[in-house]
Subunit: 586 residues, 2 copies
Amino acid sequence: MPAYAPPLADLAFLLHEVLGLERAGLPGAAELDRDTTAAILAEAGRLAADVLAPLNAAGDREGCRIENGGVRTPAGFPAAYAAMCAGGWTGLDCDPAHGGQGMPHVLHTAVGEMFVSANMALQMVAGLTHGAVSALAAHGSAEQKALYLPPLVAGRWTGTMNLTEPHCGTDLGLVATRAEPAPDGSWRITGTKIFISAGDHDLAPNIVHLVLARAPGGGAGTRGLSLFVVPKVLPDADGRLGARNAVVAARLERKMGIHGSPTCEMRYEGATGWLVGEPHKGMRAMFTMMNEARLGVGLQGLAQAAAAGQAAAAYARERLQGRAATGPAFPDRPADPLIVHPDIRRTLMDIRAFVEGGRALALWAAMLIDRSRSAGDAGAEGLASLLIPVVKGFLTDKGFEACVAAQQVWGGHGYVEDNGLAQYVRDARIAMIYEGANGIQALDLVARKLPSDGGRHIAAFLAEVRGAAADADPAFGAPLAAAAADLEAALAVFMAEGLRNPDAALAGASDFLHLAGHVALGLMWARMAAAARAALEAGRGDAAFLQAKLVTGRHWMARHLPATALHLARIRAGGATVMDLPAEAF
Amino acid sequence: MPAYAPPLADLAFLLHEVLGLERAGLPGAAELDRDTTAAILAEAGRLAADVLAPLNAAGDREGCRIENGGVRTPAGFPAAYAAMCAGGWTGLDCDPAHGGQGMPHVLHTAVGEMFVSANMALQMVAGLTHGAVSALAAHGSAEQKALYLPPLVAGRWTGTMNLTEPHCGTDLGLVATRAEPAPDGSWRITGTKIFISAGDHDLAPNIVHLVLARAPGGGAGTRGLSLFVVPKVLPDADGRLGARNAVVAARLERKMGIHGSPTCEMRYEGATGWLVGEPHKGMRAMFTMMNEARLGVGLQGLAQAAAAGQAAAAYARERLQGRAATGPAFPDRPADPLIVHPDIRRTLMDIRAFVEGGRALALWAAMLIDRSRSAGDAGAEGLASLLIPVVKGFLTDKGFEACVAAQQVWGGHGYVEDNGLAQYVRDARIAMIYEGANGIQALDLVARKLPSDGGRHIAAFLAEVRGAAADADPAFGAPLAAAAADLEAALAVFMAEGLRNPDAALAGASDFLHLAGHVALGLMWARMAAAARAALEAGRGDAAFLQAKLVTGRHWMARHLPATALHLARIRAGGATVMDLPAEAF
């Protein structure tokens, strides 16, 4: 399998030429000039390529197991995780008050892509810990922050999210795990949680579980849920580890992929926990970190596609098979490399146009989160909340497709596990499911985010798109304007149908998410093309890199953006054929 | 995992209401009235559901291994394979002169779908044997036919195809395996073949390898290849097994799926073989069986989608999660079943419209093969040769997508291996790759089949589509006519570009295959709708089944057929963005 090459030039282009990181007015960003980010990204890229990536296939093959009552991760994972912590990567964008480095979330996202490309299973531990940090930072008491945040930010302890139970995943209103108050102000948590990533492992001596449970007096449904912090090992007030808590990883799931990530069934048997935030407001605390978590999962789809696309391109350049349709390209060799064949080249360009556009979208969304957090920018917050389901749903659906396409370039050798392509496909598959299955993302987008604040966020997004289309040269502007018109027409359908016939509107929810995703990447490509042209005119940067940007962008505009018309046709078809058959007919 | 339910009603509808099997004038088909086919299909369905399907997950989990120099298949596979042979299923459409039952290929295809849905890995052995029968029947000498066909038709011996080598899959001109003549008229075969399905196993005492190799005097490239029959165990003239031949399965591949099918690296070390057909005409012999083999692989995509779709529908009806958007459907239960949710229902309808349309296409293609074989119908042969790459490429690409969609309905439980959905996805994936990767199917369609015989076959197909559109009611006729216009417009692009710029034309090959696939399923749906309406008017059949056909057909026409416009847009985009970057830019 080819080595992983961190996309340093593309990340630098996005951060500085497209997003203007150093001029964005974000805390910690003013010092991030080109040289500084280049040094940070190169260091992260070295860790990804040299330490994380070499363990990816072996971790998949070995998997995790329960031994002596605890989970053992694949060989090399503890040392690699320790290297991530030692480099300060786990707390890159965390508050310096808790030991973080105070850098913007957008830089954390750029680094995260490389770590996920290199080893998704291992990076998940850091991702989940980061989510726990955000939840505790937003909702924890002063004591909880002092106790838990420093070790979590440093990665010395790790975090988990415990939501799903055997009978409920999406529908958390059915959660049955109970919390009973103890006289000392703590709580006793009892119940079974499933699909808990990194619920147990051997990477750190303590694991901080955040658990949704039902405390007395909250009533039924999601409104009755509270959030608790339940450490695996009970720390004293100074963080010294004491007794083992009454929570165990009882079983590991046998999964299609992410074998290096232990997916645990957690049994809470009167485990000691402490309430985080207000009672019966657990869902609100979850929502706080949802944008960040869903961006992280969208990034997984993108990062797997990026890594798989690299492997496909490398193979297409090396593997000799057949002759170019226009005559032998290398008459002295027994055959031409695969890359001379138009259908192979089309596949590589499809992957590339998605990956580079998706990378821009993920970084833009991260920067909107930065703006909404640190600058209190309500417009950025609204736009981020609108875009997050698109980032999650579109980047994971299309990222998986890109992995499948990359595998196809390898032919039968892609189906063989030894070459790594199958693992990208299997690992990427989960990102379409967890952190809210993509159908839920579509529902969130259409039923919640579109009407939110009187439709202001989608109007703001459309205004950005319209503006970019007007400023762009025709190869970018015309298709973008057409796609924007499709988006507006779809909105008109929802406005007409929405109240009258919710089923008809929701039958088009996934198509709307994909329509919006295509437009969002179209917007990114218009911006990237403008930035590339400006850099070329200024004589800044690598001309070949910038010219390739323009070609790749035109590929997206000509071959992918027209999908908006298909999605619009489906949205207009409404719910008739979708809902007409009785359930018994299935 | 839900039990597999054979689609008996749908197969009967297609064979009798749509294809008019008993009136088709095929040898052996006149006796196939509704009762007879119903009895045959029910018997095959029982074998599929009761014997093959229960071994599918266990076979995936256990896999194959090499033990004492031979391959051992999963527990239960030898007995299940023996049951297939005992029922006469391996020779259903074979010549009675060789012990076959002389039934049409279309019936074999209907039975094959059920076997593949139930256990793709095991059915592959029978599928490969069938291919060897066809090749030997068409090209073998009288002695070879007498020696090999009876045990192959009965399934007592099995067959393989040996084409691929480590350095060549698609490009068989690079084959290096050598054949040297021996004084007794036999040949000594030496070389390494890889990816040989069922290259060794414990299901039968002998395996008949058909091997492409290079005999002296043939020159370079594919024209220098000859076809040899190389039995694992050397039989005497009466078929009694004697000495072991010098061929071994040296290694098994570790694959993403079809774990129950041993994928072997075969080492030929001066193995004894006999020439099949004329020297240096091996590729021609391969092409003889290619239509049948590619139809069989297309059927795999369809059959995995059919089985996965059943599992998704069963789960959607049972799993309680969330409430209907229009208010609780089952207020007395803790939640409504998934099937009330429009996005879930859309997913199920997408799968269903593809599966039922794809099933019709596979059976139609099989009947065209019947017509071309037995009735010597040149028009049917031409249409079959045109449609086969579409059947193979479209049914496997979309079949895989349908498996992924079915897995999505199961959420996290679909990602867990125990529930069987992941296996459908992993198994279906290979069908896009082997027997000519789908990019090769697209190339075959555009570069070979379209221009073949002066474009007569595509013209015949378009005439069928135009005729069906004109006869259909507007819900079917209007979208079908629009799709046909897109197909014609795409052809115009190829005619204009083809000679001038082959790269530009081939950059649109995969899109053309998908465009044609959508139209082909549109044609099938127009025919099925007409047949359903005729049966309803005549008061024949199950009215609910027939009404569901009409709804499902409208779903395809409204939500999937419009994809032709997107494919046309990509074809029109030509090769510019596809071919512009230098290979070094990747």
